[in-house]
């Protein structure tokens, strides 16, 4: 019984984390058709930004519990700075290239950003554990869980629900959905694609940075922390169907629960279980679980 509860909780927490790091990737792909490898580097930058902002907060004598403010603030800061730079300078001029070429462009950006992080913050690790330790833990059955992990669950829910609300209810959201569905038609109907791309890419960067910022308190912040994450986020997004928000959610839940089961019941399999799930899903559903349908007119 307690094992089932543990699998459920661990799976949910891991899924929440996965969803946070993957949702920006799928949104950017859905709108811009860019597989953004630089997402991983943006995640790293988010973590470092959180370290610096929280450090400044503490140095400035900010309230102990107020530290969550600079932590979360890292996301919009990174999104607003890095997003427009990358989009305007590199992605907009190359917009008409093929998907795979764009992917290589973002891979190059990834390499450049990762080394830039080294130039700015150095190779020694940073620790930002206060936000993680501050709220303490709670006992569920006989296992202790940090309250912070449930904060991740809440953050993922807020992001997911907020995004769903924005896309379905707000006017700008409906325009974004129209672009996801059919860029040409949306343009013909007067959507300003330049502006939408800029906004969506920056928002995607902010989401990646949020993932990094919220992860920072639980790990040692090092320049290469984004490498594994980007591969994981890919797996989640591909399983769910590239470009689908609901797909990212289900992909995260699937990977989270399958992995939690593997760790608790068959630890040997943890190494490649995610790739196995990904390969299996793709073999059964070649475009992932919830790929937005695209019919070609001939």
């Amino acid at each position: 019984m307690s094992e089932a509860v543990a699998i459920f909780l661990d799976g949910s927490i891991y899924a929440a984390w996965l969803f946070l790091v993957a949702v920006g990737l799928t949104l950017v792909y859905g709108v811009m058709k860019i597989v953004n490898v630089a997402h991983g580097a943006t995640y790293t930058v988010g973590a470092y930004a959180a370290v610096s902002l929280c450090g400044a907060w503490a140095a400035g004598g900010g309230n102990e519990w107020g530290i969550y403010l600079p932590l979360v603030l890292a996301a919009p800061v990174v999104g607003l700075i890095l997003g427009p730079i990358l989009e305007r300078l590199f992605l907009r001029p190359l917009r008409d290239e093929e998907e795979t070429v764009l992917m290589l462009v973002t891979y190059a950006l990834f390499l450049i950003l990762e080394d830039s992080v080294k130039f700015i913050w150095g190779v020694d690790p940073y620790f930002l554990s206060e936000p993680y330790l501050l709220p303490g833990g709670i006992d569920i059955f006989d296992l202790t869980y940090p309250v912070y992990n449930f904060g991740m669950l809440i953050a993922a829910t807020v992001v997911g629900v907020g995004l769903a609300w924005f896309l379905s209810k707000s006017k700008s959201g409906r325009i974004v959905r129209a672009v996801i569905h059919d860029r040409e038609v949306a343009m013909a109907m007067g959507a300003n694609v330049d502006r939408i791309y800029l906004a969506v890419f920056s928002f995607g960067c902010a989401l990646a940075a949020l993932g990094g910022a919220l992860t920072a308190p639980t790990v040692s912040v090092i320049p290469s922390m984004g490498v594994e994450v980007i591969v994981l986020a890919f797996a989640v997004v591909v399983i769910g169907g590239m470009g689908s928000i609901i797909g990212a959610l289900l992909g995260a839940l699937l990977v989270g629960f399958v992995r939690a089961m593997a760790v608790h019941l068959l630890p040997e399999a943890e190494l490649f279980i995610i790739y196995l799930v990904m390969a299996t899903v793709l073999l059964v559903r070649p475009s992932g679980l919830f790929a937005p349908a695209e019919a070609r007119k001939i």
Binding site: T100, A108, L109
Partner: protein
């Protein structure tokens, strides 16, 4: 122009064939590696000409190397046997996996390939008897009575790699000039039309996929012989990424472009390591970006332009 290009390439091959007499040994080693990787990149270029990018091509590089490694462990050290059986092993696997993978296009083809290579990588890590992530050494490989390893083996290995690379380049060049070459080009443009002209797209993709895999497998064997050590990282996605990088760097214009890409990337890496050990990633990333922006058709187009002007 074609005559001139042929003459130029012949001179290049001659210079490379004479390399053991003008290159210092350490550079000869880099050249061996670059040629072997160029061969893998050549296969990838064939796929790319058909519009498909694999982010898991290192799977076959690794399969070739590990097939050779297993043969050496079982006491077979004749290079010809390793090369033939190593390549054969990749071809068989490519036939099986290709049957599934050839259904996919675009990013899904790339990512499914990557997932498959990562499953293989995971299996290798699990195999403690094969050294897990550390891999293992293979020594004593020879071609008939000529050693292929150690000090005496460096030149034979290099020359063998060069010969096989040239043969592969000529073979693929002929292939590209054949009807399949034209069909492959057509495939990249418009698959729907290819189907509506009565040609199975999957068959065509599968054919290219198998050829590409075979080349990567042979490259894996050659690399294993040259380095004398194999490990799971040979099948890791970053190795695949390196192959893609080489193709993009060289361009799709000519079979020699894949080798140009491999050579230049290896040289850039070697120099970057020596000059800027702390920021070589930055340099590699920036050159990739510069290449895509300024040379969308790769270094080959630069050589061609240069040659025309001269």
């Amino acid at each position: 122009m074609p005559q001139r290009m042929l003459a130029g390439l012949s001179v290049l091959v001659a210079i490379l064939a004479a390399a053991p007499w003008w290159m210092p040994p350490w550079m000869l080693f880099i050249a061996s590696g670059a040629l072997a990787k160029g061969m893998a990149a050549l296969g990838l270029m064939l796929l790319l000409r058909g519009g498909l990018v694999s982010f898991g091509h290192a799977l076959y590089f690794g399969i070739g190397a590990y097939a050779a490694g297993l043969l050496v462990l079982s006491g077979i050290t004749e290079f010809l046997v390793l090369a033939v059986l190593g390549t054969l092993a990749t071809l068989v696997l490519a036939l099986i996996l290709g049957a599934f993978v050839s259904r996919y296009r675009g990013i899904f083809f790339g990512l499914l390939s990557m997932a498959l290579s990562m499953v293989f990588y995971g299996l290798l890590i699990k195999l403690q008897s094969l050294g897990s992530s550390d891999g293992f050494n293979l020594g004593g490989i020879h071609l008939l009575s000529i050693p292929m390893q150690g000090t005496a083996g460096q030149v034979p290995t290099y020359l063998m790699t060069l010969v096989l690379s040239v043969l592969a380049a000529i073979g693929i060049d002929q292939f590209l000039r054949s009807r399949y070459g034209l069909l492959t080009k057509a495939l990249r443009d418009n698959e729907l039309r290819v189907e509506y002209l009565g040609q199975s797209v999957r068959q065509l993709v599968l054919l290219n996929y198998i050829i590409a895999a075979g080349l990567a497998g042979l490259a894996g064997v050659l690399s294993a012989v040259a380095v004398g050590h194999i490990g799971p990282e040979m099948a890791y996605w970053t190795t695949s990424g390196e192959f893609v990088f080489m193709v993009i760097l060289g361009g799709l214009g000519h079979v020699a472009a894949a080798f140009v890409g491999a050579g230049v990337l290896s040289a850039v890496q070697a120099v970057a390591y020596a000059v800027a050990p702390n920021s070589w990633q930055f340099i590699v990333g920036a050159s990739l970006l510069a290449c895509i922006v300024f040379l969308p058709e790769g270094l080959w187009s630069l050589l061609k332009r240069f040659g025309r002007r001269a």
